[in-house]
Symmetry: C2
Subunit: 283 residues, 2 copies
């Protein structure tokens, strides 16, 4: 069975040995409770690198005070199994104090891209994401790091951070993995009751409707948002957090579909906040 | 004559070649207008590394709106001479837009250590310092980076940032270099009129007095600060910005001298703001 490594220095030592042998290292950063979406990232990393590190770290810095840090699901044993089966070489599973000693006070943020979308209601979230990723990038020194397109804002933010701060690695975005009925895979899906699980389909359904209208020439963002809104509101268990149509790179709001856009939504199904999105490329 | 390299990619390429040959790289980050203080950093870097990069970049991000960015002295030709004579191998002198393209919006900050001392009156200063150093550390991938102890807060902040964010390099602090009469070397000394130049000696003089009292057993921080204050106020051209006695690592204010402390002052001589300090180690 693959072992979890808990200490930063141990990871650095292992990675140094790999680098001396000129081996390419891929990193898949996760918060654990791995699902098929994570597995697809590990699969891709295994294909494209000589060695793959998966980090399993429930990062407290990216949770706000009233968010679900305490009840976030965990299952390290199963995570290790998933990593081993997928062919990962090292699982980094540090304690919180190993990553953030008590005196820790250094932070990284990508200001302009983190004010809207999920950042609007989660003001400290992306600062936490950027800070932990900066640490992981320095600890693992990966050649490539893998992120799901499901967290579209996170992917855009990380790409921007890497570009702005001249990190020496490539960020690879990987397609959303869905259940057979279309629900995007998420560790948070486990919170859903049977009834909520069914209601959650409205996220993907509303996006599909918008996508098909866009493919048929609809270019008015307000109109498209209204259609998504009406669709989601038809589901009584759903409560919209946001529906946005933005530039896929800088995440600025758009009135017209004139370039590659990200259509992103966040919706509460009962108490569980789910996100979904698609990117629409103009030919 | 040593050439200035202006492009990030050129520096990365050169450093990559060095790293392939297992050569140790030292970095001396500067804002140019090099004096003996900078030269001492380059000398030390040349001694301790196989290759030495000096960055000469007047970083706009660390200047506040009403600060002296525009009139800050520059002399690249002389800087190149200093670097060559000292044995540096590469001078990195990027344009502002090469370092900060217009869309740039990612920042690094060390929160707790940057609120007092120079950070109190210069609220964006250390965010600018941390951000440019993060970029330089990623561009140059140095094994060691060299900083003067004259900017004591900067040195403490950089050490903390490197520790908190797991950068893979060592920060080396180097002693303050002084003029024969005791004035700490600074690019800003050129602003001083003949009369002000003489008045500026009060910084070092007041610190020497405090140091000698501490060596003779004085442990009361308030009393020591008062003595420094009175000494500086005896000089009519001097206006105190701050006098602080703090923990040398976390920069927290202290009432009693019970561990290694930093005694740091900032004083306006006419319109020119000068800083000086010493570290007092308890045996």
């Amino acid at each position: 069975m693959i072992n979890a490594v808990h200490k930063i220095e141990e990871v650095k030592k292992q990675v140094n040995e790999w680098k001396k042998q000129n081996l390419k290292v891929g990193l898949v950063p996760t918060m654990g409770y791995l699902h098929e979406g994570h597995k697809s990232l590990i699969d891709r990393a295994v294909k494209e690198n000589d060695k793959v590190v998966v980090s399993v770290f429930l990062n407290p810095l990216q949770f706000g005070e009233n968010e679900d840090l305490d009840k976030y699901p965990r299952d390290l044993e199963r995570d290790l199994e998933v990593c081993e089966k997928a062919g990962a070489n090292l699982v980094f599973n540090p304690e919180v104090l190993e990553m953030y000693p008590e005196s820790s006070c250094s932070y990284v943020n990508v200001e302009n891209l983190t004010k809207g979308l999920c950042g609007a209601k989660r003001p400290v979230h992306f600062r936490g994401v950027c800070t932990v990723l900066t640490k992981l990038f320095h600890i693992v020194s990966p050649d490539k790091a893998y992120f799901g397109e499901k967290d579209a804002q996170q992917l855009a933010v990380v790409k921007k951070m890497v570009k702005d701060l001249n990190f020496n690695l490539e960020i690879v975005g990987c397609p959303i993995i869905r259940e057979e009925d279309g629900l995007a895979k998420s560790s948070r899906n486990i919170y859903l009751s049977k009834e909520e699980r069914k209601a959650a389909l409205i996220l993907n359904k509303s996006l599909k409707k918008a996508n098909s209208l866009m493919e048929n020439g609809e270019r008015n963002a307000a109109k498209l948002k209204e259609i998504i809104e009406n669709e989601i509101n038809s589901e009584t268990l759903a409560k919209i957090d946001y529906i946005e149509i933005v530039d896929s790179e800088n995440l600025e709001k758009l009135d017209k579909i004139e370039k590659t856009v990200l259509v992103a939504i966040a919706v509460y199904i009962g108490k569980t906040r789910l996100i979904d999105n698609f990117t629409f490329k103009l030919n």
